[in-house]
Symmetry: C2
Subunit: 419 residues, 2 copies
């Protein structure tokens, strides 16, 4: 029998999970300081909910029949479940500011850095149509990234409203606009020449030069029509807010993010010196999705961090430190010390919130020290019958090799100095 | 279209998720202080792994075919994935002390208090066959329960080894012993009369009186055979450790926990005045499971807390407090205060780690106060152009209704006093 993990999934052993958990903690703390509250939804959703926005994603998600023959599946993002919760809970006060950190599943072809099960950390504001809400989620998301220690980054932003208004002005609408935008979205990958080629094959090349007139500062954008004026005004305010919060950011009309989902401001976040990382945090405004599930007009906007991808990237760059264990102190019983004294020492440490463990294998001291060393535990306390009689421990600093006797009554203070 | 959640699943809205998350945090902190490190495994496992121990659970778990026709499913506990990880990672230093807090799925009939998707918080020590390890996981688990504020509880414990040794002594082995134990396991539900009836129907009634001779203090247990002596010695040591750590506990041979899984000490935890809650934390020694997946002899023991069930029970009892939001401060812009000043005030709070939000809806003050009130936010800071000019805020304590002007330079100190 071959007992392995499922293709496209991975384990996080403690040496990875400890720093990964630290990243999640920072995100969570930041989101909470920004006044976002946690919402927990199930991993399982009905097929109706999962496919509400689009039947076309059927092949990209996990769907199956339960034993009663109902089609259910695993969530592929946190946004659709949020929309379902808002639909089921019309009593929720608006704006509803929630975060969700948890796994999502996609049936992608597994490839380097792509997994079928991964963790996303989302914030959303439901109920506000103001661009201040778009700014707020970007502020929260990028503050989390900064606190995690992500290298200098920049937010690229655009407005779906602007693209629509521009398209309308030049007679590019509906299916043609979607096709145009789908090609433009590849700009950073295939560059202008590639975009031109692809547009030519779609018979849309003629719109390219006009589109490039949007490559200006937001204050220079056209305002000949009411929709253009409105899009420009939003982009100007969004830009001002970003400047006030000192978030490095740049308007770029080539960054569009799948047009069928978003309805307003959209954004992606890139590390300046690591454009090859791709976007590490992204999102935008989706004012239509919740109506699909609830029948009510409920605007919404959100920002999402791909936690596992970010973790892998930071690890590859050596930006985060691995530790094999949370344990700071290993207590090593030797000779005929009583279990009572062993447990007394251990309890003293734990009640002082110092992560500690002790031998549960009946090993000789040498084996115990090897174990502590293999896990990188910084301090070992040896307790034998002599230490028990004197109410002391023999403290061994595994980093320096130094040893000394320490009274139990002074132990916590001594360790707090050392660690 | 009916957009609802999947049968047997539930959402935790912020008012539940905030205290539930607090419970998870306490468990995690406790497990880490006890020197257990986090291990994260996928929700998805292959059918081979999920069914390795027993094909018979097939009907009780979520299994389905992926798009390549492979049978995969959702984990039903954290123990089987742990065994798979140990099998796949022979390099892990032993003992491997890990915790896992996450969802598991079972295809139970949904009934009051039973869900198909729920969270378990497990600790396990892999690699030690010593009863000190059994004690250690109980110590960690019950310490977490105490810190959560669970009412006075008691650990019931028994030894699978004792039951086997006793059965061997009286000629009750194999299938008959399993059947005997399965009936005895219902003692607390159907009482002695029910047990006697059921044993009679199985033709095993003759063993009942002999079994009742085990209803004694561990020091009084029989020791006529080597297996009995060994089981007794372990139970005596386990009892001593529990006493040294002051964990309220009682040996009870009627508590057996599905014989086909466990191989040594087993335990369940009951709240004294709430026996109807059932066990709130349980586990035991399983020395065979990892060999099934790895071919190596690797003993192991663990303790598991059912987080969602515990949360529901504590909530029903009014032991935990609900809060609708994490936000402590709501900043209300009025009149023509600049967004710059609004954001300056908000940033001051957030950089001082005070969870805060502000209006993103363009609402009048009255609506803003209603919103803050509906979420139970304790303090509102009103900022208008007068406050902006004077670098102050108007602080409104929503609990007392008191208001006062506070200088920005003194704001954080003032709020820390108030909250």
């Amino acid at each position: 029998m071959d007992f392995t993990k499922v293709r496209g999934t991975r384990d996080f052993l403690p040496e990875d999970e400890i720093p990964r958990q630290r990243i999640i903690d920072i995100i969570r703390e930041t989101y909470e300081e920004f006044g976002f509250s946690p919402l927990e939804t199930p991993a399982l959703e009905t097929a109706e909910v999962l496919l509400a926005k689009s039947e076309s994603i059927r092949d990209e998600i996990y769907l199956f029949k339960d034993k009663a023959g109902r089609e259910i599946g695993l969530r592929f993002d946190h946004t659709v479940p949020l929309a379902r919760v808002v639909a089921e809970n019309p009593q929720l006060p608006l704006p509803f500011r929630r975060y969700a950190i948890g796994k999502v599943w996609r049936y992608d072809r597994p490839q380097s850095g792509r997994y079928r099960e991964f963790t996303q950390a989302d914030i959303d504001i439901v109920g506000s149509k103001d661009v201040l809400a778009d700014f707020e989620v970007v502020w929260a998301g990028t503050t989390a990234l900064k606190r995690i220690g992500v290298p200098p980054f920049e937010v690229l932003y655009n407005s779906r409203r602007l693209i629509d208004a521009w398209g309308e002005g030049v007679g590019l609408t509906g299916r043609s606009l979607v096709e145009f935008v789908r090609t433009v979205d590849k700009w950073f990958k295939i560059e202008e020449e590639g975009v031109r080629e692809e547009l030519k094959s779609k018979g849309l090349e003629g719109y390219l030069e006009g589109f490039k007139e949007l490559f200006v500062d937001v204050s220079e954008l056209p305002e000949d029509t009411e929709p253009l004026r409105r899009a420009k005004e939003e982009l100007i305010r969004f830009t001002e807010y970003l400047e006030e919060a000192k978030i490095p950011a740049r308007f770029d009309p080539r960054m569009v993010r799948g047009l069928d989902y978003y309805t307003g401001i959209v954004f992606e976040t890139y590390v300046r010196e690591r454009l090859n990382w791709g976007s590490i945090g992204s999102g935008g405004r989706y004012d239509e999705l919740i109506r699909l599930l609830s029948g009510r007009e409920v605007p919404a906007t959100g920002y999402s961090i791909g936690v596992d991808r970010l973790f892998s990237l930071l690890k590859e760059e050596g930006i985060i430190e691995s530790r094999k264990t949370v344990t700071k102190i290993y207590v090593a019983p030797v000779g005929d010390v009583s279990t009572r004294y062993l447990l007394e020492v251990v309890e003293l440490l734990r009640s002082s919130k110092i992560p500690s463990e002790y031998d549960v294998m009946g090993r000789k001291l040498r084996k115990q020290l090897e174990y502590a060393d293999s896990l990188g535990i910084p301090v070992v306390l040896v307790v034998g019958s002599k230490e028990e009689a004197e109410k002391t421990v023999r403290l061994k600093d595994m980093r320096s090799g130094e040893e000394k006797e320490v009274k139990l009554s002074e132990l916590v203070e001594e360790l707090e100095r050392l660690l």
